[in-house]
């Protein structure tokens, strides 16, 4: 079977049906058994003007990163598509509307910007849409039809997929979409002379039997939270985390839970801490600016030892920053943000799959270790859509991880009892005999405020030691490649890990002696494994999406060696190509 690995971008204006056609394409290709990774970007501004891009990498191999270059660009809007042309591969293809109602002024047509070596297929999108549906709204479907015809996608099957997508709508909507698709398909079959070699047709992989879920990181987090027994979600709208709230708000009340859209992020984490204190599982999700507001209460969860799950989907910062762009620059605040010595558990999934598993783990850990667990996503991970094997919901024993006090312990109940592993059995309100005071002041084992010279050191140590247990319950760092005598070791975290992994695999194909490691648990830090990896490598490279190399800075004291860095703050996900280029540079 020939390899298929094609990146398609649909680019239009808000209202062109860009995102929905991208979704149809991704879902359909997934149903055909392809691996997909999609990523939509849309303006943070109001509807009507902004540029929307539905990016989708479709492959019959494992997809680790979104792909830096586009192979096929579908232009639903000239101006936006022109501004997107820089991502098109040198030999890429553009599908565009070659029959707009009027002549465009010089340089306003995407067709005029096609670089030599690129290929453009003009399709009368508007005309065909009008013919099929009586309006311009079917242009996206006409384009999909043409795409299918030119690149060997089964038109009939895709038609049924479109039908399924709009099944809940009325017949007019269904028909106009289907007819538009069919018009585009037939027209392209009859009029387009194919001069490129991209195709899906000859290598259709067998549809896999296992059930696939097509979800993005936000959906995975929301689903995992609900599967983990979420009772209360509190949040304030903020890009790119808002979607989590929207999903939870639909699903949670059905299960007897509560979604509170709070007045601000402070209130959101307050509600979460309240619920956690009351013995229920609760979560909030936010992004950098909201995370800053939460930091005081986040520290209360640490000090008063109350479970709290906090998702921070990072975007460009500081301040309002770049709300719809990608960055990994909240690592510092996640690890260290807040006053005092404030140990917390930090998990950073590297894939949509791990968005699910990290979230279920987060609830388990938060409850067991009675502390703040931060899940670090980023704009890309939140919005990147993968078809993943339907995740396995947590088992019953993971759904209740609170360590409750024994009857004898309740006789003289010490809420903050100093124990070997640091976990003090927790009585939940309603438990007779467990009445006590929980407080953000430094406190004795009974919870009474104490400022003496012995209590604070003992309690501080307890809080730090306590979370160490989480290390053995989190996934071990992933090590790809040889175990010794490695020239270059790449260590990555978060959404950058996928690209780094792909880059390492490709570099190995080129004969470069390189290995890869990633870790989802960032606090407590898996020093042992990373040290071992480091010792096996002559040089260490850390690629990440922030200016100062926040992760590299965390690593370097542990490894006590110099670390080479690839820091990017373009607002885009780091690509496998960028990292590969750096690896090649180092290997030269």
């Amino acid at each position: 079977m020939a390899d298929v690995d094609i990146v398609i971008e649909i680019c239009g204006s808000a209202g062109d049906g860009t995102i929905s056609s991208g979704e149809i394409l991704s879902r359909f290709m997934s149903s055909q058994g392809f691996e997909i990774m999609s990523f939509d970007s849309y303006p943070s501004e109001i509807r009507g003007f902004g540029k929307c891009v539905a990016h989708s990498r479709i492959s019959n191999k494992k997809v680790l990163s979104p792909g830096k270059y586009t192979d096929i660009l579908i232009a639903l809007n000239n101006a936006h598509a022109i501004s997107q042309l820089h991502t098109l591969r040198e030999t890429g293809i553009v599908i565009f509307d070659n029959k707009p109602p009027n002549y465009l002024e010089e340089d306003q047509s995407i067709a005029g910007w096609i670089e030599p070596g690129m290929i453009s297929y003009g399709i009368p999108l508007l005309n065909l849409s009008q013919k099929a549906s009586g309006s311009a709204r079917g242009r996206n479907m006409v384009a999909l039809g043409a795409l299918a015809a030119i690149f060997g996608i089964d038109g009939e099957q895709m038609k049924s997929a479109i039908h399924a997508r709009y099944a809940k709508k009325n017949k007019v909507v269904i028909d106009s979409n289907i007819n538009s698709f069919a018009e585009g398909f037939t027209w392209a079959q009859q009029h387009v002379t194919k001069v490129d070699s991209y195709t899906f047709g000859h290598s259709k992989p067998k549809p896999s039997k296992e059930k696939k879920a097509i979800i993005n990181g936000n959906q995975a987090v929301a689903q995992a939270a609900i599967d983990s027994g979420l009772h209360l979600y509190a949040g304030y709208p903020i890009t790119p985390a808002t979607k989590i709230m929207e999903i939870v708000s639909r699903e949670l009340p059905k299960k007897g839970g509560v979604m509170v859209q709070t007045e601000d992020e402070i209130s959101a984490i307050g509600h979460v801490i309240g619920a956690g204190y009351a013995g229920k599982r609760a979560m909030t999700a936010t992004s950098g600016p909201g995370f800053c507001l939460m930091s005081e209460l986040a520290n209360l969860a640490v000090m008063a030892e109350v479970p709290a799950v906090l998702v921070n989907s990072q975007r460009g910062g500081p301040s309002t920053g770049l709300p719809t762009r990608n960055e990994q620059s909240d690592l510092n605040i996640a690890l260290f943000g807040g006053s005092g010595d404030s140990p917390r558990i930090v998990l950073a999934p590297t894939s949509v799959n791990e968005c699910y598993t990290c979230t279920t783990l987060a609830f388990y850990l938060a409850e067991k270790y009675q502390t703040l667990v931060i899940i670090l996503l980023d704009f890309f991970l939140s919005n990147s859509i993968r078809n993943i094997t339907t995740p396995v919901p947590p088992k019953a024993n993971q759904l209740n991880s609170n360590v409750a006090p024994t009857k004898t312990a309740l006789k003289d109940y010490k809420r903050y009892k100093l124990t070997k592993n640091g976990i003090s059995p927790r009585a939940i309100p309603g438990t007779p005999g467990g009445m006590c005071i929980s407080t953000g002041l430094e406190h004795s084992e009974h919870g009474h405020p104490r400022y003496d010279r012995n209590t604070h050191p003992a309690m501080t140590e307890k809080r730090f030691n306590k979370i160490q247990g989480a290390l053995s319950e989190a996934p071990k760092p992933r090590w790809v490649g040889p175990k010794k005598n490695v020239d270059i070791g790449v260590i990555a975290w978060g959404s950058t890990a996928g690209s780094a992994h792909e880059a390492v695999l490709n570099a190995r194909k080129e004969g470069i002696n390189v290995a890869f490691m990633s870790t989802v648990i960032l606090s407590p830090f898996p020093v042992k494994e990373i040290k071992k990896f480091s010792e096996a490598c002559s040089r260490i490279l850390v690629p990440e999406l922030n200016y100062t190399g926040q992760f590299a800075n965390v690593l370097s004291p542990h490894l006590s060696r110099s670390i080479e860095r690839l820091n990017m703050v373009t607002g885009l996900p780091i690509s496998a190509e960028d990292i590969l280029e750096k690896i090649r540079d180092m290997a030269r």
């Binding site: 009772h231 209360l232 509190a234 708000s249 009340p253 059905k254 007897g256 509560v258 979604m259 509170v260 709070t262 007045e263 601000d264 402070i266 209130s267 959101a268 984490i269 307050g270 509600h271 979460v272 801490i273 309240g274 619920a275 956690g276 204190y277 009351a278 013995g279 229920k280 609760a282 005081e296 209460l297 209360l300 008063a304 309100p429 309603g430 438990t431 007779p432 005999g433 467990g434 009445m435 006590c436 005071i437 929980s438 407080t439 953000g440 002041l441 009474h448 405020p449």
Partner: protein, 280 residues
């Protein structure tokens, strides 16, 4: 110690113990200044709990920071002493998770109206079934005498030696304007009046707002003092219609120490009732 044994005091204590309310107290001695109005309020709260026969393990008291913030330490219930200004969201989070619990939020004027002022209208409009005890002494006590959101205009404080330039908020009017379903005012010197209001507030299904005027004997020697307030209390006339928002507002705007229940809407569903009805 032996001298005290079997003394008159012991007998008194036994008698008081029999009344039951002491069960709601911890062994911790309050750290408030002698003469502080908070003693009276505490007394009224534990007595009300006793009167209502609330199970101790089903009572949660959430406080913020300030002299009032220490309050949960002295009550033998589930106490949560949190951070400055955030008692309301946390109390709401508790109630929305465990409806069987009776949840109190305790906050000073700086806590509830200053740093945490943003949470008040929203907790009110959600009508979460909790009771807010607003200990209003019109001063920042714990930090030693700075201006608070209810410090009268021109009163000299440690942060405004030449007098407070900021117009004070009117807590009862504010709560009414925000649409609270239960609004009352009490005076810390009137234990019976407080008990009466507290009982109704706690049993009210929805958000109860209790404004408690209480002197800070240490940092306010001129304005809200026992001396000036004792005897000025005006209980609300029985003719007042507690279901009338307009009358309540009119009453609230009178700048005297009027106490009692200004407004109560018994029909309005609480947040959990609304959620259950509309969201699932």
């Amino acid at each position: 110690m032996d001298i005290l044994k079997n003394s008159y005091l012991d007998e008194e204590l036994e008698a008081v113990k029999k009344q039951g309310f002491l069960d709601y107290r911890t062994s911790q001695l309050p750290t408030w200044c002698p003469g502080c109005g908070y003693f009276g309020i505490t007394h009224a709260i534990v007595q009300t709990c006793n009167d209502l026969q609330l199970k101790k393990e089903e009572v949660c008291v959430v406080s913020g920071i300030g002299c009032a913030g220490r309050y949960p330490i002295f009550m033998d219930v589930y106490g949560f002493h949190t951070v400055h200004g955030r008692s309301l969201p946390i109390a709401a989070g508790i109630k929305l998770s465990r409806e069987e619990l009776t949840v109190f939020a305790v906050a000073g004027d700086g806590d509830a109206l200053g740093i945490g002022g943003g949470h008040l209208p929203h907790t009110i409009r959600r009508n979460v079934d909790i009771t807010l005890f607003l200990f209003d002494n019109s001063i920042y006590g714990l930090t030693k005498g700075q201006t608070s959101p209810t410090t009268p205009l021109n009163q000299a404080t440690n942060s405004h030696l030449k007098g407070n330039p900021d117009t004070p908020l009117k807590p009862v009017s504010l709560a009414l304007a925000y649409g609270a379903s239960f609004v009352a005012r009490c005076y810390a010197g009137d234990v019976d009046g407080m008990k009466d209001v507290f009982r109704q507030a706690i049993t009210h299904k929805g958000f109860s707002f209790i404004h408690i005027v209480t002197p800070c004997v240490t940092f306010d020697k001129t304005n809200i003092t026992w001396g000036r307030l004792n005897g000025t209390v005006e209980p609300i006339e029985p003719v007042h219609d507690q279901t009338s928002f307009e009358s309540a507002l009119r009453l609230a705007e009178i700048p005297r120490l009027i106490t009692g229940i200004f407004y109560q809407d018994k029909k309005r569903p609480s947040y959990m009732e609304i959620i259950r009805e509309t969201q699932s």
